[in-house]
């Protein structure tokens, strides 16, 4: 049981990193960003490209590349459709996601590639009778630091307050002098940074790369923000941990015959939740910008 909880905490941390990246853009500009998965995928391939360098340098470069991609996405695609309906934004991100996948497919091919960034993180240590991977420690610890950092940024910096204001009422924020381009670009930057770090952890735990590897993480992100309540940042992180707990528990306790259908149950659960709470578990109607 305790072992499962540790696993859920580790998985939940990874999910939370992904979910926050998605939720940040959703709360500020009403965008459900499909292409967030491709940011993670690009991060994965960047890890491969820079793998000959020392790990710390690689990590910084990976995050920088992903942030760069995120900013480029905003400038080249999303800026033109800003303020359009949620569906248009969603489809734009869908198109962008395919486009990036196509590009990587062209240059890297469809075959899975493997990389071992794990190094000595693969080992595990005994803590109070539990075997905890060093990677799990790293994921949990780094995520905790990042969440605290994001909270600090949003509370204590002028840009952070501007972002929170824009998330509540973008138009009014602009009327007060908040620069729309700056706030949105910053959101893409933060989202990209989270995606880059999530990519490192994801690839470290799976060890393999494909051009379509972004799909699963981004779905996890969507599910987490729906669970948490559309448009609420911290609820999305909470949703991510709940989803991870659910996943780990289903894995551990589902009878063998039903086990393959675990994902079906999770996603069906999402639909049922939405059916009764169209704005998410913690969501309010007003919090959704449509």
């Amino acid at each position: 049981m305790a072992q499962n909880l540790v696993n859920a905490l580790s998985l939940g941390s990874l999910y939370a990193l992904i979910a926050l990246g998605v939720a940040l853009l959703f709360s500020i500009m009403g965008l459900i960003n499909f292409a967030h998965g491709e940011l993670i995928m690009i991060g994965g391939y960047a890890l491969l490209w820079f793998s000959s360098l020392p790990f710390a340098v690689t990590a910084v470069l990976v995050v920088a590349v992903v942030i760069g991609f995120g900013l480029a996405m905003e400038r080249l695609a999303f800026r033109s459709v800003r303020g359009a309906s949620g569906e248009t934004l969603l489809m734009t991100s869908f198109a962008l996601s395919l486009f990036i996948q196509g590009g990587v497919l062209l240059f890297e091919g469809a075959d899975p590639k493997s990389t071992d960034v794990l190094g000595n993180l693969g080992a595990s240590v005994k803590v109070a009778g539990l075997s905890v991977g060093k990677l799990d420690f790293a994921i949990i610890g780094v995520t905790a630091v990042l969440l605290a950092g994001l909270a600090w940024f949003l509370r204590a910096t002028s840009l952070g307050v501007q972002m929170r204001a824009a998330a509540e009422d973008f138009t009014m924020a602009r009327a007060l002098g908040v620069r729309a381009n700056l706030v949105v670009a910053s959101a893409f930057g933060v989202s990209g940074a989270f995606a880059g770090i999530a990519a490192i952890f994801l690839v470290a735990s799976t060890g393999s790369l494909t051009p379509s590897m972004g799909l699963r993480p981004v779905l996890v992100g969507f599910v987490a923000i729906v669970l948490g309540g559309l448009g609420r940042l911290w609820a999305a992180a909470l949703g991510a941990y709940v989803l991870a707990l659910l996943t780990v528990m289903l894995q551990a306790y589902l009878p063998g015959g039903v086990a393959p259908y675990q994902d079906a149950l999770v996603y069906l659960g999402i639909v049922v939740i939405l059916m009764f709470r169209p704005h998410g578990i913690a969501g309010r109607p007003g919090a959704v910008r449509v």
Binding site: I32, Q101, Y267, V290
Partner: protein, 366 residues
């Protein structure tokens, strides 16, 4: 509320024009090579699926990622009811007896597939019709994933991710055209019917429509059911085109292709669905040849995988950025201009005619 002063022929004009377009393209393809004919057949099958999806998405304005579920249901239903008996026993020994023995003629199987999809659509309606906008999009996506997980693991019936092989892949242009014309006719008839008109009115202004007594959920259910039927038939045709079926064939890739065709063509009109299908099919085929080009290996091997996806995605992206209404921008192809103008002037909510997306009054757009 439909304008009765104009004869059915002129109100149904878009369907006639679309049919002519389909016939001309098919006729041209018949002059081409075997590969061209196969591509044209695929285009016609995609046309059925796209028109089917359009019936719901286009008329209701609710985004759906889930329509490929109906295609999947239709595809498996047709596969299981039309494949050779002996092969079925060998591949799927655990199949329930009645299904193992069932062998239907293709038209019957297709209609059966459509009806089965209607049943699934009823469950869909129950689960998602309260939702709007992005919640609806996410819910339909979640359903698509759930169904895909089920068919990927239901070894007894679907053979899981190994897929079903040996389905007769005998679909020809001539055999497919009537089904597409039928789909267009159904879509047009629905569009001209009262429920269709009401749903389009609710798409333009849900609040006003509700105030006028339009029961949106009921009207959406009707559209979903008709839409699912056509998509189910489309799925049946699709599997007879492919000859083999794995869960991946009826998943995200196909969803994307359908939405791509709809959006590039113009999601708000039947003509848009048909034009989008033709346009994207031709483009995709050209790209496939480029991908395969350079004399590297046979066509089935793709020396440059990605180019096709890259350009198709770019097409979708540019459409969304530069021409959000798609090629047709909500207009229908027709030869009865006066009827359209008349309808536009008379109906209080703009009838099927032009509808540019309204600028949001908050003016957030920079």
């Amino acid at each position: 509320m439909t304008n009765t002063r104009f004869p059915l022929l002129s109100r149904g004009a878009p369907a006639v024009t679309c049919t002519l377009l389909v016939l001309v393209v098919s006729g041209l393809a018949l002059l081409g090579s075997e590969t061209t004919q196969r591509t044209a057949t695929q285009m016609l099958v995609m046309g059925v699926i796209t028109v089917g999806t359009y019936i719901f998405v286009g008329n209701s304005g609710v985004l759906s990622f889930g329509h490929v579920v109906f295609v999947a249901v239709g595809a498996y239903a047709t596969a299981l009811t039309t494949m050779p008996h002996a092969l079925k026993q060998a591949l799927l020994p655990a199949l329930p007896g009645w299904l193992a023995d069932l062998e239907l003629a293709l038209p019957v199987a297709l209609l059966f597939s459509g009806l089965l999809s209607v049943l699934v659509a009823a469950v869909f309606a129950l689960l998602t019709l309260r939702l709007d906008g992005m919640a609806a999009g996410i819910a339909s996506l979640a359903l698509l994933i759930s169904v895909n997980v089920v068919i990927s693991n239901w070894d007894a019936v679907t053979r899981g991710s190994q897929g079903i092989v040996g389905i007769p892949a005998d679909l020809t242009i001539g055999a497919t055209v009537p089904w597409l014309i039928g789909a267009i006719a159904i879509a047009m008839a629905y569009q001209l019917s009262r429920p269709g008109f009401r749903l389009r009115a609710s798409r333009e202004d849900p609040v006003a429509a509700a105030a006028l007594g339009v029961r949106i959920r009921r009207d959406r259910s009707i559209a979903l059911v008709i839409s699912a039927f056509v998509c189910g038939v489309g799925g049946g045709l699709y599997v007879r085109f492919l000859g083999a079926l794995t869960p991946g064939d009826v998943y995200l890739q196909l969803t994307l292709l359908t939405l791509l065709m709809l959006i590039v063509g113009g999601i708000r009109s039947l003509s848009g669905a048909v034009i989008g299908t033709v346009f994207i099919s031709v483009l995709a085929e050209l790209l496939r040849r480029i991908e395969a080009g350079g004399g590297v290996g046979p066509i089935e091997l793709h020396p440059h995988p990605g180019i096709q996806q890259l350009i198709l995605a770019l097409t979708l992206l540019l459409t969304l950025l530069l021409r959000p209404g798609g090629i047709t921008s909500g207009r229908e192809l027709g030869f009865s201009l006066p009827a359209r103008i008349g309808a536009r002037r008379k109906g209080p909510p703009p009838a099927p005619a032009a509808d540019e997306p309204a600028e949001s009054p908050s003016g957030v757009r920079s």
